[in-house]
Amino acid sequence: MVEAKDPGDEVQPPTKVAVIGGGCAGMTAAFELTRPELGGRYRVTVYQMGFRLGGKGASGRGEHGRVEEHGLHLWMGYYENAFRLMRDCYAERLELDPDRPALRFEDAFSPAHFNGAMDLAANGEWLPWKVDFPAMPGLPGDPNPPKLDIPTYLIHAARLLRTLLTTLSGVDDAKAEPVRPRAQPSEGELTELLKRLTQLGAFAGLGAAVEATRWLELVLGALPEYPQSLIARLLDAVSELAQTELRRLTEANHELRRLWEIAELILATIRGCVRFRLVFDPRGFDAIDDYDCREWLALNGASQGAIDSAFIRALYDLAFAYEGGDEKRPAIAAGSALRGAFRAFFSYRGAFFWRMNAGMGDIVFAPLYEVLCRRGVRFEFFHKLTNVGLSEPGAASAHVRELEFDVQAHTLSGGEYEPLCSVKGLPCWPARPLFEQLVGGAELEALGIDFETQSDRRACERKLLRVGVDFDFAVLSVGLGVLRSVCGSILERDERYRNMLEHVKSVPTQAFQLWLDKDLWELGGGSRPINLSGYVEPFDTLADMTHLIPKEDWARPPKLLAYFCNVLRDTADPRDGRYDTEEFLARERSRVRQHCVDFLSRDAAALWPASRVAGGFDWSALSSDAKLEGPARFSSQYWTANVRPSDRYSQALPGSTRFRISPLDQSYDNLTLAGDYTNCSLNMGCVEAAVMSGMLAAHALSGFPALANIVGYDHP
């Protein structure tokens, strides 16, 4: 007997989702779409160029199990979505396999409270300005994230202002003599004083300023007695005189100058937020994104000294905010910068910065890979996207019709490539492909193919995926720099995509890592590991990463590990096909090596005074198996030029926000974008923005997670 079947009982086949690019955004999208709560509605396949996941966050284990990163990755204490993702991932991994010794989340990240900026004094001396950020309650990713609105930030800012100044109040002011009251000056006397000050001008000096001060105090004590215009003139005159003296005083007292600069910046920010009506503007901070942040602060009263301060330089450095990688062109959209800064300073939990206790690949992408594998996600490594084919222009609904890939290598087994290696029991990504798993592995290794670049088109197969057959939905989560070469038909048809590529810029970065046989104390760098920014070109940011040495696999462990990074001046136009070639990459790598050697020879002494020897840097301090001497010894260290399209950092330049396309954009009925270059609300180049974008991409396809559950999406 055949029973009648209720159509409602039919089990819908899962929707096939192709996630192209396994960086933070793509992996987040895959993670969200395969959460158990969705009941297997989506069958996800991740297509990844080369041999490892991670995108700009990819790392690899090299010689001695060394962690080799794209750059310096510190997670900020406000990365609520990113930490939530990782905490869920670690919990699930532990739950799936409780007997396996796995790194727990608590072991994966450590707070980094001690930070600073390099401050250039008037005499040309670089001075480290070190700050212990207080530990805040909770952990990032906990339930009930901090309140995120502009008035709350402004109240925090005002409190910080008071705290800064209270910090300085250790001096007993009981002995301070009050200003002697004297007869109230008449309007005529005031006018005469102003005339005299004006005549004396800059030569008035301290005596005149002191005299004017006494008068000013009397006037301020009886404001209603005088016409406002007269008071204003007096204030201006005194201010001008006082500024001269103030400059002299602050030149001699660095702490005072720094605090005054920050006080100025806070005041300018508060005033600007009110003046620009940001509290009530439905665009939130986006309303001022056409301004550069420094320009906007100046508009609201910050002095040039404050704008050029170490604090501001450090913020620009951390955001790689130099157009074209040129240190003379600092630029970041004011709204995005303020949003990031407010969140960073006033909504962090636990610590301001968090360090990973292994490579970013090991801490982030290996656990994600393992958990997603357990959920049934397929990974197609060595698949390089070459073209996104659209439906015909006349189609009822615009959509992606096909996806073309170069298959860079096949596995010997015919099954999936198994990408992880083990270093001291920890699943890690190797720095090079595991050639032994590949067909013709030895030959491929000998050929020296760069599997992570767009321009090398050597492939063993061209693969075409068709909509409805191989995929239903596509998450395009490749780097911004890659879009131009794979989205020809979209760019041809869609002006918004063209505008996005024209206005939302990326920049190459450079980084190096040093393993040293001398510890921080021996190098004269103090006794506490620190993260510093705001230093000189070509490397303005560094972090002490010595805590990673035990996670590496050294027979004779080095004593100190330090990471350096910065933007790299752009020498190529992304529209020019010559960039990303083997020759170009070799040239850029050589250029970065020279930067490293120059930096160590010239600039390392300000960080590590004892590293200076006659003739420059003490190259013998570098840990090396090879018997190399002098600058040649640097070859034993690690450096990278992140110039490939997928490696370039996504910037937030003034005037660019409006050109970002949201993952929620509905122009194509089966496509969503994901990446930190999209309009994800945070709109900065960072892990949190990429994770938010990935969550939005998942929401665009499935309605999950709810937008309200993406922390900060509705942030002003």
Partner: protein
């Protein structure tokens, strides 16, 4: 494959962040300033801004000035931090008081704000004339959160609106109130402002002289001893 059967992305309820901080701002019940809640909101904020800005500017000038060693002696130079520290702390307190006013004002609001026209959030937009608020009765002042209730005694011939805000910790017995000034205008200050009454039943008395020019007048509640600002008072004469 038949295109009609192809899975398609669900329609989005929205594709943009909802950045409106309050999700409902100035309802008619939240502000007695007029029928256009946004206009009233902006006006209140602008007034508050002008007040704080004036004090901040004066404070900055004064702080810069007092940083100088006044009599040139080494002892004074050593204590150079303290005067500006006190002043800046006062400015910080003032700013917080003002922000709390703003927060309180907007917290109580109900209706959603209408969109701001493109480009109106620039620095030059403040010169745009906001529509005047419609005439309504003077609102009852909101009570301080923790302190004893403050009664208002208002003596005015024309229509006026009074609002004030006090820091939570402020003790009314310790307070003084400044006269109310209209910044950027030549109008005479309103001097008939005082705190009186029994310590457990303080009264804020405001007398608006006949013929007082229309405008917004602002003042401060000050702590008697330290002269630290701990609240604001705003009065609109129609």
């Amino acid at each position: 494959m038949d295109d009609s059967n192809r899975p398609k992305r669900p329609k989005m309820e929205r594709t943009e962040p909802d950045r409106s901080w309050m999700n409902g701002s100035f309802g008619p019940g939240a502000s007695a300033a007029g029928s256009d809640p946004r206009a009233a909101g902006y006006q209140a904020i602008n007034n508050a801004y002008r007040l704080i800005d004036e004090y901040v500017r004066q404070g900055q000038r004064m702080a810069e000035n007092l940083w100088l060693p006044l009599d040139g002696s080494a002892g004074r130079a050593a204590s150079a931090f303290n005067a500006p520290e006190r002043l800046m702390r006062a400015m910080g307190d003032m700013t917080m008081a003002w922000l709390e006013v703003m927060e309180q004002f907007t917290k109580n609001a109900q209706a959603k704000p209408s969109p701001v026209p493109a480009g109106s959030a620039g620095p030059f937009a403040s010169s745009r004339v906001e529509p005047p608020p419609a005439a309504t009765e003077a609102p009852s002042p909101s009570a301080p959160a923790k302190a004893q209730p403050l009664k208002l005694s208002l003596d005015a011939r024309g229509r006026v609106e009074v609002s004030f805000q006090l820091a939570d910790a402020a003790s009314l017995a310790e307070l003084a109130v400044t006269e109310l000034r209209s910044f950027g205008s030549d109008a005479e200050p309103i001097r008939g402002v005082e705190l009186s009454g029994a310590p457990d039943e303080p009264v804020l008395r405001v007398r608006v002289p006949e013929g007082q020019p229309a405008g917004t007048y602002n003042g401060l509640f000050l702590e008697r001893g330290s002269q630290r600002p701990c609240g604001t008072i705003s009065l609109v004469v129609h």
